[in-house]
Amino acid sequence: MLTRFGPPLAVALLSGPILLGLAGTVLPAFGYLPALGGESFSLTPWRALFAQPGIATSFGLSVFAGLCSALVSLAVVMFFVAAWAGTRAFERMQHLVSPLLSVPHAAAAFGLAFLVAPSGLLARLTSPELTGWTRPPDLLIVHDPMGLTMIAGLVVKEIPFLLLVTLAALPQVPLARTRALSASLGYGRIAGFLFGLWPPIYSQIRLAVFAVIAFASSVVDVAAILGPLTPPTLAVRLVEWMNDPELSMRFLASAGAVLQLAASATALLVWVVLERLSAAARDRFAAGGLRFRNDAVLRHAGLWAMSLSALVVAAGLAALAIWSVAGLWQYPDALPRSFSLKTWIATAPRIAEPLTVTLATGLAATVIALGLTLLCLAREDESGRTLGNKALYLIYLPLLVPQAAFLFGLQLLFLLARMDASLPALVFAHLIFVMPYVFLSLSDPWRSFDRRYDAVAAGLGASRRRALAAIRLPMLTRAILTAAAVGFAVSVGLYLPTVLIGAGRLTTITSEAVALASGGNRRVIGVYAFLQMALPALGFLVATAIPALIFRRFRAMRV
């Protein structure tokens, strides 16, 4: 049956380009790239790389950003879930935070930049009345040398992601019973949860945390918008080198991409050590009988941090929405002096093409990813084998290997194959990143599907294929569409793959937005950020509306 080809195809699709891309990066890093005149292996690219001024700082920044973003976002999610899981507040917050997952990183970063800059919205709302600032103070907030603003920008986007994977793991632990037990033993809510439930949850979300570290240590768009400039993070410098007109810089850039791999690996290694240390600390506390009963402060801190992260993203996007219709808006006016649709009208005709590419690429990549995922999952049922942990690592591979490390190589391969800047190449590049997310969001609902329906169908004489088509797929419509919406949102937000594989000819809303960000025109950025946000939101809307329409006559299928 067709399904047999599912798993090998998926594995080839996810790991193939990464391995080929890595080869295309590693070989030039050691001087081998005949097309550019590198006929023999040498360490010259490495010497050139280490001779770059500030390279150690860039490396350190990348590692630091990766670790800090993961640490802070995981801590917020952990304390929030520990303190509030199972309560009404938790459910409300969950509905508030989940949509943020679909906000592309770049859009959230623009919003944050305008919010916290000395001439930004926060300062405008409080100046000069509260602060006495008639002019913006000369404070280095955005682009700060330690990258704290960049880390904040990453944290507010990683929190929804980690929360959602935690939510997926939560039903698999006995929450209510453990809560009751630990409470009766006198443990505080947080301590009871962390001692009793967190270890099994963490082991399930561990890969997602790794993905966060790898992403944060190698991100380009957020770092370019919020990160330090003198020097920037390694990933930002890599892209600069890659785009240098000097031929020899390609070798240097490849060595830099390998160094990026090392930076992400370093961050991951440090993280593993931190895991050990914190596990040991937890054991000590638990064995010491510490109950941490008075955790009210921490509980509320968890709730506040969670609300704040959602609020920051929402407020930033709202500010950009105002900018998109602003006339002259000078500091310290809290609102623009005049409003106009000029920017929208001027931008509208220019949006058509990137919008078409965004939609075409996103839909094509999502449909292919969905098809492959269904093949893999159906194969699982047939063979009775779930993908083991090792295969799971492969699914995560595109998320764990820094994009820059293999995309350069992949770009080179596409170029040699004369495939660069074509829509199929772009769809393929997007698929590499869309597939894992689709697989991850669909596999849990698929695996928890009640198999007794299959048994009943078989008992009524339906073939396996018919049971799949008539029973399981319709019943899983909602989950399938949600997975598709997630995949589409991922595709809309992709920056580096679009820029490298699209070669500037195929532009999406996100690549246009980041290019425009360099111009600092907040009005136009506002328009693009709004679209960046609206597209995935539309996807999720469709994912909720269609099942509601289909199942309006089926009471048990309503939510």
Binding site: S119, T230, N243, G504, N521
Partner: protein, 406 residues
């Protein structure tokens, strides 16, 4: 079957290659005929909306007049387009390249010319509209940053370094008149001046302006950098920057990324003096509601940097005929007058007004240059661009000294 198909494909390639080889700008009707139906991928900086809108207008005109489809490939750095051509040459893609036209000047042109990446022989002076070009009064049209152009690129606009300030906030008598007094002003007003981070071309231009003013013997700037004396030659520039950076916006620890970012900073009151390479930038920003109408321009009486920007065609461009038609259209009095209109862009023309016919002269006479734009006779003398090697060398040195300072 397969073989015949391959043979047919081979023939098709061979014939396009032959056609490309025969393309002769002197036979203009043939160029126009061949351009029809072609798509021109124009790689041009895309960081400014009014420029993007102008390019779009040009695209619409080209489509309706010549059947040429213009696609603006928006770059954040022109070097990226050069890199693309370099990569294609390395990959052996000598035909059907992805870049048809590049907005270019200075070291990018020098680098492409040196590496043989440009469509040659010189074609620009064979364009029908070349007859209007002001080669007498505007010497930078034939020498781009001291490098002879030799018709390898077609002029598109003129640039001159001009400063802007908001007269509602900064009084006129305080305004600097040269790099030295700018430094004094910055010391008196800490945190109120900055320049875009090199290698942004406006930022690098500021460095060249200071270098040109402070260098002991200006004639050395017309030649390639002499490595043995570079340190000594550039010492005044870096001494100047060492003094300037501590009193600059964010104490020189962060920089605006380019001119539009500086424009936003002036609007946000983050800085008080900005500059651009186009005398009409402020008028155009006022017209767009981006700056208040109290913004005014000034230049240095002793002169500021001035140059010409061009369009060039890569040697492997897929649509050379379309690119030639585009370059010629951009030189037309109509396109040039529209470009000089501050409501559209405000970029000064490369044409000599007295060479135009009546209708052309009227187009230019009808332009309202805007409240914040200096008249041509108020712009002050022009300082020539140094040899491109200076820019490269200074940018590298800048990065070592300030690009990594934390």
């Amino acid at each position: 079957m397969k073989k015949t198909l391959l043979a047919a494909l081979g023939l098709a390639f061979a014939s396009t290659a032959a056609m490309a080889a025969e393309l002769d700008p002197k036979d203009w009707p043939a160029v126009v005929a061949e351009a029809k139906g072609e798509t021109v991928y124009w790689n041009a900086w895309g960081g400014s909306e009014n420029i993007n809108a102008y390019i779009e207008w040009a695209g619409a005109e080209l489509k309706s007049r010549y059947g040429v489809t213009l696609v603006h490939v928006k770059l954040d750095d022109t070097a990226n387009a050069v890199a693309k051509v370099v990569a294609e040459k390395a990959a052996g893609k000598d035909e059907g390249g992805s870049v048809d036209l590049i907005w270019i000047n200075g070291e990018n042109f020098a680098s492409m010319k040196r590496q043989g990446l440009l469509f040659s022989p010189g074609w620009a002076e064979d364009l029908p509209n070349w007859r209007y070009v002001d080669i007498e009064e505007k010497p930078t049209i034939r020498t781009d940053f001291t490098i002879p152009v030799e018709g390898l690129e077609s002029p598109w606009g003129m640039a001159k370094l001009v400063f802007f300030h908001d007269s509602a906030r900064t009084e006129i008598p305080d305004l600097p008149t040269d790099a030295r007094s700018l430094l004094d002003w910055a010391k008196a007003n800490p945190g109120r001046f900055s320049y875009p981070q090199p290698p942004d071309f406006i930022g690098s231009s500021f460095l060249k302006q200071v270098l040109s003013e402070l260098v002991e013997d200006p004639s050395i700037l017309l030649k390639a950098v002499d490595e043995t004396t570079f340190e000594q030659d550039a010492a005044p520039l870096f001494a100047y920057l060492d003094e300037l950076h501590p009193v600059m916006w964010r104490s020189g620890r962060a920089y605006p990324q380019n001119y539009p970012a500086m424009k936003q900073m002036l609007a946000d009151s983050e800085v008080d003096i900005i500059f651009a390479f186009n005398p009409a930038e402020a008028s155009s920003a006022i017209a767009n509601g981006e700056l208040p109408d109290t913004v005014r321009s000034f230049t240095f009486p002793e002169g500021t940097l001035s140059n010409t920007h061009f369009v060039a065609i890569p040697y492997n461009a897929a649509s050379k005929a379309g690119a030639l038609v585009t370059a010629n259209f951009l030189l037309s009095p109509e396109a040039q007058a529209r470009k000089q209109d501050p409501k559209v862009w405000g970029d000064p023309t490369v044409l000599a007004i007295d060479k135009l016919d009546e209708a052309g002269r009227e187009r230019f006479a009808a332009l309202d240059l805007g409240i914040a734009t200096l008249r041509p006779d108020e712009l002050g003398p022009a300082i020539d661009e140094p040899h491109p090697s200076w820019m490269e060398r200074i940018e590298a040195e800048w990065k070592t000294r300030y690009g990594v300072a934390n």
